[in-house]
């Protein structure tokens, strides 16, 4: 998969789950306050080792060409921030652990699983979500192609697939079927309409070249 997108099964890097595990039973019965979270974050910083851990932090980032400044908590994922703080609910929480691609967004042009990306790391980045694909009410050729080919059923995986398709076409404007399959292999469609998804990507690629 493309750079920036975490591979399935590779979890030897520091994840938010390891981070959360840092909270033992020491806080039993005590209200969790942001301050406590921050202290706790400090205290496990050395344990986690290689990766820097931050306390609650203000980040600046661009989403769909709009600049945002947000205070995020260390355990918050980019997906949570997009959905809960920015009300951009196009990216979906499907597995919440990097297994399905339902939460795919573009970060500096690369597709990432936003459920596996801590929001604090997004500081200074440029993010594009499904909500940023249509311009002034005009659908992106990929969006139009998904409609034309009926490249969905329930539509839950569709935002993730469209973002992965966009990343693929940015890298390869003329992909063959094998390349399309591979380019989308980080995304699952449980309704199983892959056949039509390939057709949609192919249509959009052709539209992009014409």
């Amino acid at each position: 998969m493309n750079k920036g997108k975490m591979k399935k099964g590779k979890t030897n890097t520091f994840t938010r789950r390891d981070f959360l595990k840092g909270f033992g039973s020491g806080t039993l019965g005590v209200a969790i306050t942001p301050k406590l979270l921050a202290q706790k974050a400090e205290s496990i910083q050395t344990k986690a080792g290689e990766v820097p851990v931050y306390a609650k932090k203000q980040i600046k980032f661009t989403v769909n060409s709009k600049a945002y400044t947000k205070v995020v908590e260390p355990q918050e994922t980019l997906l949570d921030v997009l959905r809960d703080k920015l009300s951009l609910t196009g990216a979906k929480k499907t597995c919440d652990r990097g297994e399905c691609g339902g939460c795919t967004v573009l970060l500096d042009g690369n597709p990432i699983y936003s459920c596996m990306y801590l929001a604090i790391r997004a500081d200074g980045t440029n993010i594009k979500t499904i909500e940023g694909m249509a311009k002034e009410g005009k659908l992106h050729p990929l969006q139009q192609a998904y409609i034309d080919k009926d490249a969905y059923q329930c539509g839950f995986c569709t935002p993730g697939f469209i973002m992965a398709s966009e990343a693929l076409l940015k890298k390869k404007s003329n992909p063959d079927l094998g390349e399309i399959k591979k380019g989308l292999s980080g995304n699952l469609c449980r309704c199983g309409n892959y056949t039509k998804i390939y057709q949609a990507v192919d249509q959009a690629a052709k539209a992009g070249r014409s």
Partner: protein, 754 residues
Amino acid sequence: MEKKDSRYAMEDSNLWYETYASDQTQHSSEALSSDSDKKFKLIGKHIKRIDGKKIVTGKAPFTQDIKLKGMLIGKILRSPHAKAEVLSIKLDVAKSLSGVKAAILMIRGNIQYAGQMVAAVAAVDEKTADKALELIKVEYKPMPFVVIEEKAREEGSPQVHDKRPNVEQRRGYSRGDVEAGFGKADVVIERTYKTAVEIHQTAETHVSIAKWQGERLTIWDSTQAIHSVRDQLAEVLQIPASRIKVIKQYMGGGFGSKLGLNEQTVAASMLAKETNRPVKVMLTRKANSLCVGNRPSTFQTYKGGVKKDGTITALSLLSHTSGGIRGGDRSSEPMIDVHKCENAKVEDYNIYMNTGPSKPTRAPGLVQGTFGLEGFIEELANEIGMDPLEFRKKNYTTKNRGGTGIPYSSKGLDKAYEIGAKQIGWHKRNKVPGEGKGRIRRGIGMAAGIWWGAGSPGTLADVKLHPDGSVEAVCGTQDIGCGTRTHMAIVTAETLGLEPKDITVKLGNSDYPWAPLSGGSLTTPSVAPALRDAALKAAEHLKGMAASKLKVSASSIVCENFTFQEKGNPKNATPFKEVLGDLSHEIVFHGERKGLPEGYAYNTFGAHFAEVEVDTMTGMIKVIKVVAVHDSGRIINKLTAESQVIGGITQGLSTALFEQRIMDNETGRMVNPNLRDYKIATSMDIPEIVPLFVDSVDPRINILGTKGLGEPPRIPASAVIANSVYNAIGIHIREIPMTPDKVLQALKEKEVAR
């Protein structure tokens, strides 16, 4: 909690599909006026979804996406034990955590499986709710459990239900005299086929939001069944159904796991009541793997007798099935119905074990039964050296119950055989299974399928006309991804001479006219005829109004191209909008899906053909191509119907090659409750898929001649791959998923046997 509680009643049995199968006995003698000879402009064409834009822009509101003012987050605590007595539960520490608004008990009696709901909390945000769960102290007394089918069947294994044996006989079936039938056969063989437990793994996990306003409760639910959720919830909460409204606009997949009330809806309702605030409960992927249902495993032993000329003289099936703490699936339907056979007998047993309760899973029982039966049919054909397609044709029947029952109202399976065989290049198959040479072996196989899919008589729908010229199509059905919104628009627009986009479609709200749950291939053959009925009445009324304008009789008026015009004289026309403009107020026409004429069996049929490659070195199976040909009567929208078929094939392939829940005998837990270890087909596994339809119109099933299509493409989709593998390597892998280890083992055994 001494209330009558359907959370517990739900554990009884999984006989959902039998209920509507027997619905078909509610026949009416009313003769139907069929549209079978009509030529349509929209119906049956490729029409894009009217809500496509919402989906591709990320604006379609899935329940997961909905956030209400003041909404709390609810979470559920689950048992780590497969069986245990709950000695005590302490909620007070959790309750005292700042931000926690409620903590309630959700269990009565003993724990029966790992993952069972114990308690629930509501808090201001997710992390506080998670923390609260950790603070609930539960004292369990673990008890002996059993989570493996073979072990549950052993004498003296821990008993799952107090009042039931682990192996319990269920209703069987018998016709003719099987022993006499076997006596007449030239060849009699017996084979056993197994299928694993499968998990629905819907894209959107189960999620509900509950909001009380005084005595009234509104539920936003990721569900396939708004009316069932309302009625069952009313029973659990002991409040009148009239006070509950259930809303579902968009849902990320159900496949049967969202066919009725689920635990998260009950938890959300109770927490919302307690806190007097809206509460959302969304299950995790792990919980979704454990607690919202599964497709039961099966162990099917077939015995069949056949004459040298291909006549099947008798078939019998001994079936064991496990749906965990609930009943399993009936896999006998294909054997009872599909092929001609006078003598048949079924003996069926449930196996209980301490795993999550089963739920219908797209074509419950039929996926498993078709894998078994159609595999067995290939083996029978091979025994007498007959081409399996010829063998099926030889045993073709136009009456149900293997030719001994009543006639099918329509059956296009013979045409499906013909079209499919031609498309796949049937002549290219190995004449003797496994005759090919080399490391990579190719094979071609087929499988037939049957399902019900007549729809529910009594389904209601409205067409509403407004003086400003706008039109509504309203039905309390749900679009679960099959394109029901668009179907409703197509039927209404077709009847009124409009375009689908001109119709405002309203569905997914239990306050709307009744429609059945969206499962069992019920939706289209229920909703489309009901709307057609309403729209025809609307058209009739409007024609009467137009008649005086056009100075012709109403009977000589047609609605076409946004106008009412004189038949054969399109110049004498008046615009649709103008006629509606004469209405003094809105007007509603009620439509109904009428009964089914007596004396016929109403079924859908399909035949799949596939080509596969088996790598004899690695045991890997690669599916190259699948051709599916379906008889589902008149297809309302070819575009969405194709998606339906493609999805069914993809899922069937996934079942055939990958999917299995793995239980740990030591801990009683599922070891693969996620999307990484529970393998499903991905982008890299998809073959070329050719979805085709037998263009037939059922003459009496309903006024559109349409049948269901949800289940049918799923049914032969796993069997066809197993049969193709058989043709490739000459060994029938009688167990799905056909993982490489099983293929290699089978190849080794064949080598040894040589």
